[in-house]
């Protein structure tokens, strides 16, 4: 399978108290478990990213539980009210537990 690669867009600078928009995109087929293999007729097993978490300096500020109805290469956009300077960490978990 192709490598899973994330892209994230976070403003580099913001004043404390500003609300910033964050965008993330990750390469993943989001195999829904509903599709059939055209050759064998068998259902292709589900393999999706089922959860996403965003933390700021260790504190979770946004997360999502994800179903197969989210498109391939999942895109997420959300906000953060920046309390201070720090680091944003993103975690994607798929059905096999890989990130």
């Amino acid at each position: 399978m192709a490598k899973v690669k994330p892209r994230v867009k976070v403003p580099k600078k913001a004043a404390a108290g500003d609300i910033v928009t964050i965008k993330t995109l990750i390469s993943h087929p989001m195999e829904s478990g509903q599709r059939k293999d055209k050759k064998t007729g068998e259902l292709i097993p589900r393999k999706i990213i089922n959860s996403f978490t965003a933390e700021f300096n260790g504190a979770k500020f946004f997360s999502a539980d994800i179903d197969p109805a989210v498109s391939a290469n999942p895109y997420m956009q959300f906000s953060l009210k920046v309390p201070e300077s720090g680091e944003v960490k993103f975690t994607w978990v798929d059905d096999e537990g890989s990130v």
């Binding site: 979770k60 946004f62 999502a64 539980d65 994800i66 179903d67 109805a69 956009q77 953060l80």
Partner: protein, 152 residues
């Protein structure tokens, strides 16, 4: 004579066929509605959602059901005592209605989120917001999904 006769067996088969189709149609429709209602109930804990506060953005017509952009935003002060805890997004015409649940904290600043989703056919997208105080709000939008040309 033979050509005008409609044999009883053929007539029965036809009748049965038609009945099956109707029945199936009815059952799937009912199941889907129930699954969506069940998902909403499970999320709200039985509370009846009110209108307002939540805005759901989705195209009126989607070019392709594989990638339909949606966004939700909920009016809220986003303070410790008064904020949006989570937003459930459902698609009532998909094989499974669940799409995603977004969880917010006061640190989110505002309760907005956007993503791209799959819609199997023309249907309603539903968003339900649950607030810190337990109140729930709901918004619904119909998205028409076009049948592709060679795009499929």
């Amino acid at each position: 004579m033979k050509q005008v006769q409609f044999s009883r067996r053929e007539a029965m088969v036809l009748g049965a066929g038609a009945a099956t189709v109707t029945l199936l149609g009815g059952v799937t429709g009912a199941l889907a509605a129930t699954a969506t209602d069940d998902a909403i109930n499970a999320f709200t804990g039985g509370a009846t959602p009110s209108e307002g506060k939540i805005t759901l953005g989705a195209p009126e017509i989607a070019e392709n059901g594989n990638t339909v952009p949606i966004d939700v935003s909920v009016e809220s002060a986003m303070t410790d005592d008064d904020h949006v805890e989570s937003v459930l997004v459902l698609a009532d015409g998909n094989p499974n209605p669940g799409v995603a649940t977004f969880h917010f904290t006061p640190m989110s600043g505002d309760a907005t989120a956007a993503t791209r989703i799959r819609l199997a056919s023309t249907q309603n997208v539903v968003a339900v917001a649950k607030m810190k105080d337990g109140s729930v709000y709901m918004a619904k939008r119909e998205v028409k999904v076009t049948i592709g040309g060679c795009g499929g």
